[in-house]
Symmetry: C2
Subunit: 449 residues, 2 copies
């Protein structure tokens, strides 16, 4: 005898007992519910309806999702990154340092004369004119001889990293990175289920003899490096080290991903060694360059230069990722590269950032000797080594109370580091805010160490 | 005694014999080469230099790459798709049907008043104003109640598919698709190393009883469908079928990817059933909508609406894919959605496409009865079933000689289909070219069947 309030058998149980499909049982229960005889409560079951009217409001229940095994092991972007007014956490340029007005004008004129630029998919590989211009640019500015057909336009260097990982990596493969390393690159590799091995840097960059030691034990699929003004440390890899990495790639048949987002932001008129790609003869180096750091992050434009069959594989995957980057934003970058403006802009940028670096270094040098850092010769970041006792997340919390944020060093390591580090980006704030923010940070740091 | 022309031991052999690192042996050989004593030929080895000067020009050698096992099993975009003037191969709108002038003006005014739009990364999830507007749009036009925080902006629906696959699929997982199916979706899933099972459509859409049969044997991770004006067949899934799919997803704990790129392009004033997402209570449906088919492919804007933890996972992966889509192109879509223009534009679009469909159907109906097709009630495509003997690739080759191209049906199947099919998109050509092209195609088809 079934009474009001009684629970009916589960769908699965009834389906098994009666040997009918789950969907059929479900339909029967839904008919009973519709006719008012039973109430179905999501996640609980089906109940015989009582005489008193019960609320049958069904709440959403997403909990089944939490039992899934998904491909997210780490992502620095999904940390609760509570941005503050004095934001030292992002390696992004102060907007007023960018050629916004010129870019805006160029885009306006482009839209006036060629309204169809919005109406067509561009080529998957990227706009041909832009690739031709980038080919000249790379040759002129960095001595890289890339043919336009060997260049692919990506949505920033970040998409280049993800594209390469999607194309080449399988779970269980090995990837070598620098220690410390750009955090979002570690995230991409880790989420692909690969074994990420990090190798310490010295003042010349990643230690190639240690890379070879790894190679002798296990063949890596790829090695990811920022040779020039490495993110986060600012270290400039020596010419010798660059050549050795290509030699190792030849010997052990792996790819080098050369992420050159900061290579053109050098200070003190120092000479930057040629990109690793210039030493590569046999297609071992996949060269990435983003324009988000130098031109306009809002445009999301980067380039990938690769040679050999790997180019075709990357092309096939890029097509399936997004059928190509937007044409309009590519045309805007084209307009800029074509003029003399890029050259002048880069000169202005180097000067402005060098002043910021000087300012930030001076202010932080006044701290106790237990805060150590190298003055970087380029890039956007200062990498501070703090006494071991400091808890960087605790420090961040205190800083946030004073409207300040920075990047805890942990984001840049594969395993928990032995020391405490924080990354300070001096690129994003106005000069005044940089000054005020760093003085506040100084006070907070001094209290902790 | 070593003589000119003799080959030296390989690096690896010498390294093993002398128990020194490969890099050291390489350096020694390089010194010998520099001093002119030996010649190193890439891929061949090191040779003692003869008295006569030999050309030591080293050619690039990319062949090592071809031994790698990469993640490209299939990609319709890497087929040699030789585009022709009469292009029926692409489901893209004729550019003059798009609101280019308005979009161009809006972007110009946006750039005039807010030049900083180029200078900042937008939010990873997408511009907040656009998400708010899309939330109203979905509610108004399709009865979908999506909160702005549950919407993510992607670079077209294609990125949505790839994002979902990257986040949720592991090699060996099972994905169910329609048979036939949008080819680039099959490509994405296949390249992730999953088991893709395709289920035949009937006139109501994918056959849910066959889906359940699969589920009883193996739990799928996701089911990918185009419920409205399916690509390539144009089939409109019934309301009943939509509900059954949600029931199955509940019972067997999988996600449904509802790709709704064509849902608003309906003809003959027919009524389109509500999106599958409207029947979903517990976060089983991931709803994708691209604006490339209706507004501007050059903008590369789409949306993904998801509920529950899966939203956070997708967010984390989107961040690592490209740190968010460009802000400028998002603002352009916003301008359009905010006005009454979208409504008028869609009405105009439906009328224009319906005329094209009528025209194309009429012309192709004059063919022999051995060419079969259903007149679609929406969308961009006619799906022709040809006699079994026809080789669609051979047919394409002949068509290309007459400056015509189309999509061979094979691109839309997981396994080789039993019949011959081709997809004719009537969306891209001008009215005149559509007429001329179809008449030519008719002649070619008639000769083949």
């Amino acid at each position: 005898m079934i009474k009001p309030g009684d629970q009916l058998p589960s769908l699965r149980k009834l389906s098994q007992e009666l040997e009918i499909s789950l969907l059929t049982v479900r339909k029967a229960y839904q008919l009973l519910q519709k006719s008012g005889l039973i109430v179905i409560q999501s996640g609980k079951g089906a109940f015989v309806r009582g005489v008193t009217k019960r609320s049958s409001k069904v709440l959403n229940n997403f909990s089944w999702q939490d039992e899934l095994n998904v491909n997210i092991t780490r992502s620095q972007y999904s940390l609760n990154r509570d941005r503050k007014y004095y934001d030292f956490s992002q390696a992004i340029l102060f907007p007023r340092l960018l050629p916004n007005q010129f870019l805006a004008q160029e885009m306006q004129s482009l839209l006036r004369t060629n309204e169809l630029v919005l109406a067509t998919y561009g080529p998957i590989q990227g706009d041909r004119e832009l690739r031709m211009e980038l080919s000249s640019y790379l040759q002129r500015e960095q001595g890289i001889k890339a043919e336009p057909h060997e260049i692919m336009i990506t949505s920033g260097a970040q998409q280049g990293i993800d594209l390469i990982a999607q194309t080449l990596l399988k779970p269980g493969d090995t990837v070598i990175v620098e220690s410390p390393c750009y955090g979002a690159a570690i995230d991409v590799f880790t989420n692909k289920g690969v074994n990420v091995i990090s190798i310490e840097l010295d003042e010349e960059g990643i230690q190639s003899d240690l890379v070879e030691e790894v190679c002798q034990k296990i063949k890596p699929s790829l090695l990811y490096v920022n040779p020039s003004f490495q993110n986060p440390t600012g270290i400039l890899m020596s010419r010798q080290r660059r050549k050795e990495l290509v030699d190792l790639a030849e010997l052990y048949h792996f790819f080098i991903v050369e992420d050159d987002s900061f290579g053109e932001i050098y200070f003190d008129d120092i000479s930057v060694p040629p990109p690793i790609k210039t030493f590569d003869k046999n297609g071992h180096v996949l060269f990435l360059k983003g324009f988000s750091k130098t031109l306009a992050p809002g445009l999301r434009i980067g380039l990938l230069y690769a040679q050999g069959s790997v180019f075709d594989w990357l092309y096939a995957v890029k097509a399936l990722m997004d059928i190509g980057s937007p044409l309009l934003t590519q045309k805007a970058v084209l307009a800029f590269l074509r003029t003399e403006r890029m050259k002048h802009h880069m000169e202005k940028l180097r000067t402005a950032l060098q002043l910021r670096r000087d300012h930030a270094s001076d202010l932080l040098s006044s701290l106790s000797e237990s805060v150590q850092f190298q003055v970087p010769k380029g890039g956007f970041n200062l990498w501070l080594k703090l006494p071991q006792k400091v808890n960087t997340f605790g420090l961040l919390k205190k800083a946030q109370e004073h409207n300040i944020c920075f990047l805890p060093g942990e984001a840049c390591f594969v395993h928990k580091p032995l020391h405490a580090y924080i990354r300070i980006s001096y690129s994003l704030l106005s000069d005044t805010d940089l000054n005020t923010g760093l003085q506040r940070l100084n006070t907070i740091l001094s209290a902790e160490i």
